[in-house]
Amino acid sequence: MSSVIASSVEEHHPGPQTQERGQRAVFCGLTSIIWLHRRIQDAFFLVVGSRTCAHLIQSAAGVMIFAEPRFATAILSERDLAGMADCHEELDRVVGELISRRGGINRLFLVGSCPSEVIKLDLETAAAKLQVKHENRVRISAFSGSGIETTFTQGEDQCLKSTVAELPSLASGEQNLIVLGTVSDIVEDQFRRLFDDLGIGNVSFYPGRKAGDLPAVGKGTRVIAAQPFVGETARALIDRGADLISAPFPLGAEGSKSWFEAVASVYDVPQERVQQILELPYQRAKRALAPHRAKLEGKRVHFLPDSQLEIPMARFLSEECGLEVSEIGTPFHDQLVMQGELARLAKDVSIVEGQDLDPALARVRESRPDLTVCGMGIANALESEGLRTKWSIELVFSPVQGFDQAGDLAALFAKPLVRQDILEVGSWS
């Protein structure tokens, strides 16, 4: 993989890796809309799907707090299913309605769903046609967040990938850095300050805060992933000439340090300067981690598949918080972006890709870990059996990347254990 730079050796996880097929308890890619629409503040996400899609997003978002959210569902009815031509006209009408009502929207994503995929509704063509109609007003494109094609965080990958072709070309001789994957605004600001200190300029965060913030890409582009669920977008950027920097993800003090070091080394920033600049935030992160490490050390953690953050989180917990990892379940294991992590995992940790829910739960019950990281639908069910859990969607929604979030990240895992120690009440029965 010549495009992967800054990795000394090609690392693969030497431990047991299995694939499981069966019932999956994961969200579909539509769920990504919940954080994507908060990140890209002038984008609107129109799911073309069923009432189930609308209900899923609303339920996964958990709260209905936004005056008029920047996502909606065009719910297919029996009438639409009867004839395809009708469907395109209907979409035309719905999009017109939407655009006339929402002034501040500069970007509209048509988002494919299971039903729209199954009836083979071509949303890309529909988007292209709608673009002509609404030229100069709003940029329209399509991607799929369907459950038959994507799990949970893969929705973001599909969304970003669908915009890669629009990225302007980087002029030859120029250099830039793309930080790939949604991070919160506060994390972006912290990272920008550190890149400035390191003398690394021309840094773009992708996706940016505005839909129009599209970084240039070309021969001089380096890409570093801030999230593990951006593999396909990374490949698309590589196809446009970019180099992917391999590193662990910026989670925890060590993860963040290695992440910045990987970038700095590609930019040939002198070692001494790198250490000098990273030392302060690194030490601060270690200090913030310490009290949580005291709670977490020696405990056993089990990951059920959910967000693709499982491998990096397992690395963070074992390397920086002293936990033993009993199993890492992950919905989808993309080796390309995971190389920097695998090398740092304990050799005997079992990685299970995919899921077969009931046997997977049976393994949790059998091994009775101190903490199980799992989806929201399962957490209370395990809690009622006396097992402590951390529901993982919070790991995607909260700012957890970078030095100054290392303590917060550890706290997310420590809290259920601390709570267990505090409570003097019987369990649910």
Partner: protein, 520 residues
């Protein structure tokens, strides 16, 4: 294709899951793509259930389409039958599975499973959650009972003299509104009438319990959204009478007692059955301030109709709007609205509901979680009376809506968001006192009254074209002397009046002219 921002109801298969999750010893095999398992969290997070609903999802993916989805159905059916050993296995499609037409019901019936199968048709593209729950419950009851049915036209034997009268409570489910506590309260009420509860279903029932339904003398149609269909089938097939009064509020609870007594042929003194504090609390002088408060009611059909009655007859409110998101219940709600001289709002588009609330400027909203958000935005006090509900609507404490205790709960929860009577009185007296700042909301609710003043700014919410309309300094000052909780209305009415009169400046006199004009 319908543009939907928020939805009041989930898809019909979520209704099927609600029935399955409410019962014991049933299992649902749902043919569905990856992602539909989100439904689990409705139960484990919102209702804090300690176990996943009894559902096996096939969770097919694109690679399975066209080749192995039918295989997955069979595999999931066998696994579910083997692992969970249910008394009945229900089989349904979610929306996407309906399109690929694997006919899981037919597959299940032909698969020689060691368990009775009930096949459900969920009509995902025309129907919604409550319909799905009603249909599932009906198919289950019919499937289990049709063999017991007496020949058509046979007379139902009357109850033997030495047998205690009994009824079934039909309709309560998981994720219903306070069903858990309503069942306890109504059982208690019936017990005090000397009436036994034979079967409660779906909540807590097993398929074997369902088979006992015909043993009771009558069915209480407690949650008609779920149980209407089943009750009418039982009435047709087994000649079982249906008790239709929803015992919500003091008056309706007494009516319910009367109806139960009449259907069962009992001689009952309503006053002796039980009592509620609501009548006295409502008559006590602190409640004077509730008089004529303008309330907007929007809920599922049965809660909307019941709440409107309580609001007017038992709290002394004025019902200024009444509606439902449930088209299946539209007829009932329209009929009820007529009694209040209103036209019912029947819509599942929350933007329409919001527009109506803005237009009516009620002083209180009784609604679902959706209306709570609308009301919060508009700074109007709100109490939640119906699904869709949120985690806070599944309280730890006993908190029924039905029966005499339910009436107490209604009084408390509806009064709570408002400013207390004495407090409102003091605000009137001391509104110019610098220490008695009227920019605070109800003193017991922290910042919740926040928006109440801001509505004064653009009461209608619409950017109006009448930029020519100006408030004179004195008039604006006078407006500020009006208590903030009616200031928005006063501003709006005055502006409307001024427009109608063709005025361009609002003077102090315009304010009072408008007040006189709108007082009726």
């Amino acid at each position: 294709m319908e543009l939907t921002l928020w939805t009041y109801e989930g898809p019909p298969h979520v209704g099927a899951i609600r029935v399955a999750a409410s019962m014991r010893d049933v299992h649902l095999m749902l043919h569905s793509p990856q992602g539909d398992t989100y439904a689990d969290l409705l139960f484990t997070m919102i209702e804090r259930d300690g176990k996943r609903p009894p559902v096996t999802y096939t969770t097919f993916q694109a690679r399975d389409l066209g080749s192995s989805t039918a295989e997955m159905v069979l595999h999931s059916l066998r696994e579910a039958a083997e692992r969970f050993k249910p008394q009945v296995l229900m089989v349904a499609d979610s929306c996407t599975a309906e399109l690929i037409q694997d006919q899981p019901g037919a597959l299940a019936l032909g698969a020689n499973l060691p368990v009775p199968v009930i096949s459900l048709e969920m009509a995902a593209y025309t129907r919604k959650e409550n319909w799905g729950a009603a249909e599932t419950f009906y198919q289950l009851v019919r499937g289990l009972l049709s063999r017991q049915a007496p020949p058509p036209g046979s007379e139902r034997p009357s109850r033997a003299a030495d047998v205690r009268p009994s009824v079934n409570l039909l309709g309560p489910t998981k994720l219903g509104f306070r069903c858990r506590d309503d069942v306890v309260e109504i059982e208690r009420l019936l017990t005090s009438m000397g009436v036994d509860v034979n079967v409660v279903a779906p909540l807590g029932a097993s398929p074997r319990d369902l088979q006992l339904i015909p043993k009771a003398d009558a069915n209480v149609n407690l949650c008609p959204e779920v149980s209407d269909l089943t009750c009418s089938w039982l009435a047709r097939t087994f000649g079982m009478p249906t008790i239709t009064t929803i015992p919500m509020g003091w008056g309706a609870t007494r009516d319910f007692i009367t109806e139960v007594a009449s259907v069962l042929g009992l001689n009952i003194d309503v006053d002796a059955v039980g009592e509620s504090r609501l009548p006295w609390y409502s008559r006590s002088i602190d409640s004077t301030y509730l008089t004529g408060k303008r309330v907007f009611v929007f809920a599922d059909g049965s809660h909307a109709v019941a709440a409107a009655r309580v609001a007017r007859d038992e709290m002394g409110f004025e019902v200024v709007g009444l509606g439902t998101y449930s088209r299946e219940r539209a007829r009932d709600v329209r009929a009820a609205a007529k009694e209040y001289g209103l036209e019912a709002l029947i819509t599942d588009n929350y933007l329409e509901v919001e527009a109506r609330v803005q237009e009516l400027q009620p002083e209180m909203v009784l609604g679902t979680q959706m209306e709570r958000h609308i009301a919060k935005r508009l700074g109007i006090p709100c109490a939640v009376i119906s699904t869709p509900a949120h985690v806070q609507d599944y309280p730890a404490r006993y908190s029924p809506q039905m029966g005499f205790e339910g009436a107490n709960v209604l009084f408390d929860t509806w009064v709570h968001p408002l400013i207390m009577g004495l407090e409102e009185h003091l605000l009137h007296m001391f509104r110019d006192d610098f220490e008695f700042n009227d920019s605070v909301g109800p003193s017991h609710l922290g910042s919740e009254g926040e928006g109440a003043r801001s509505t004064g700014q653009s009461a209608g919410g619409q950017p109006d074209g009448d930029k020519t309309l100006v408030w004179a300094f004195d008039a604006e000052k006078e407006l500020k002397k009006i208590p903030f909780f009616v200031r928005g209305k006063a501003r709006r009415n005055t502006e409307r009046f001024a427009e109608e009169q063709g005025l361009s400046t609002i003077e102090v006199d315009t304010l009072y002219d408008a007040k006189a004009h709108f007082s009726n």
